[in-house]
């Protein structure tokens, strides 16, 4: 299968001279649809930096990021929001839900950003919440949801608009063990059933057994 995303020898270097820090060092990898890739490594190994570069949030210092044969790392900063909207769904460690919006509205927000026809927004957001098992909590604000529920809303939001790639940064870090496992299973389900390419950054050993592929980072390099 053709990879949906490739990184070609990418590096991210901060600072210069003696203060130079190589956060990501010459990493090449491929990501296919239906695959769940787990990135592991100690703190400061460059996992999140790599995820940010893959998600077109951060420009690499060297190397290329290629999505469906388009070299996106060469695009101007102004073009990246559209790339992120088209290809990526993000799940964050701290959920990053909007406290002033209900679960339903948090999902609707992304659909609005993606210019989904207004008549469909409500229905689509409802379906996504149903998919993650939260249809009955749609009108609840994040402050009234448990950690697991918040993360499920974040998944529904990440899936909104049907992006082919899901990037999840420590998705189980703020969850108890049982809920964490459920979340990881949900991610794998999304990869396999919805043919999403899923990338997870995690320290969670449970993730290792569920991922299709695991890479270990150490000092910015694949170990």
């Amino acid at each position: 299968m053709t990879p949906i995303l490739r990184t070609d020898n990418i590096s991210k270097i901060y600072g210069e001279g003696d203060g130079k820090v190589i956060a990501v060092d010459s990493i090449s990898l491929e990501l296919k649809k239906g695959e769940m890739l787990l990135i592991m490594g100690p703190s400061g190994s460059g996992k999140t930096t790599l995820l940010s570069i893959m998600g077109c949030i951060l420009h690499p210092t060297r190397g290329e990021v290629i999505i469906e044969d388009e070299i996106v790392s060469r695009l101007h900063e102004e073009a990246l929001p559209d790339i992120r909207k088209r290809y990526f769904g993000f799940v964050f460690q701290a959920f990053n839900l909007f406290p002033s919006l209900t679960a339903q509205e948090n999902v609707e927000l992304v659909l609005r950003l993606k210019k989904t026809p207004k008549a469909l927004i409500r229905q689509m957001a409802g379906e996504l919440l149903n998919k993650v098992g939260l249809s009955k909590r749609a009108s609840f604000y994040p402050s009234d949801l448990s950690g697991g529920e918040k993360q499920r809303v974040a998944f529904a939001r990440a899936l909104a608009g049907g992006p082919p790639i899901l990037l999840a940064d420590e998705p189980t870090a703020n969850l108890d063990s049982k809920t964490g496992l459920e979340v990881l299973k949900l991610l794998r389900e999304m990869a396999e059933q919805d043919s999403k390419a899923v990338v997870i950054v995690s320290h969670d050993p449970k993730a290792e057994s569920l991922a299709h592929r695991v890479i270990f980072l150490e000092d910015g390099r694949i170990g």
Binding site: G55, L58, F92, S100, L109
Partner: protein, 376 residues
Amino acid sequence: MLWLALKTLFHERGRLIITLTGIIFSTVLTLAQVSMYLGMMGNATGVIRHTDADIWVMSKNVQNFDFANPFPEERINKVRSMPDVIWADRLILTWGFLKLGSGGQEQVQIIGFNPDTGVGAPWKMVSGSRSDVKGGRYMIIDRTSEKRLGGLQPGSVWELNQVQFKLAGLSEGTRSFTTAPVVFIGYNQVHRYLTHFVRDDQATYIVAKLRDPEKTEETVRALREVMKDNDILSKKDFIKKTVLYWTVQTGMGMGFFLTALLGLIVGGAIVGQTVYANTMEHLREFGTLKALGARNSDIYAVIFSQVGINAVIGFFIGSILIISLQGSVEKAGVSLYLHPLLFMSLFLVVLLTCLLSAFFSVRKVRSLDPVTVFRS
């Protein structure tokens, strides 16, 4: 993005109230100052504006309408001799003391006008008619003075400079800049009974109407040639001169301007501070929006929409407050000039102040790195 702006704005009611308080304060203070200033300028120029004349002749170096000096009234003939003058008439502006029922007295501004032509007469009567002052010791007093003078009953007799005058009618909307009550009397009666300031052969103003108002400047120049001892001004220039005198030479304009500016600055500072604090608190959300594909312009739209909505609501409430206060303020003797154009202009100023106050928030968002969303 208006949708997100509204949701966030009304979710945080405490902050909304603080922001609105700032804008309401700013609106009320600014509107009050500006409308009060315009009201006072309206009073200062009321007779000039409402007299249907194109040209005003006065003694040399008159600075404003209220401070007139007498000059020979026969100079009216020079004005009448101008080819474009349809009519010319004389006015007297003088001051006197009205004895009150309580035994005290009140200084009043006296306007002597020709009751046959009505030139210089009160422009709105609520009781009686302008011509009622004709042929005897009759006077018209403005109703707004009632609080200072006591009951103004038509037919009642008052003592003006120790001469008894009967109250023939009541006018409305005529106020002097100095707030002294305005009394209208027939021109000839001033000459007969109130000669302490003007002699019986003197006037303080000559006003003239032209056949073609386009020829005002030309006629003014011609009159200046033949009336070297007088100042000749067009109606527009006399209004301007009076306004400039009270605004600039007395320093009053600066006082009003500074207070209005202070209102805008304090209101703007409150709005700016709350909007900035709001932005700082929502940086993670804005970062998330960027990561999800929002452009900087989308986030600016959220911030500016919130500021704009605040400005609209705050200005609306502030305007309602000032309108509801207008009656009681005017009863206390202070004129407020509240015109739709004033509201529109000040709304633009308040809106601009609020939008400018969001500048630091916008700058913060522009430099926000979406990578921050990955930090727990």
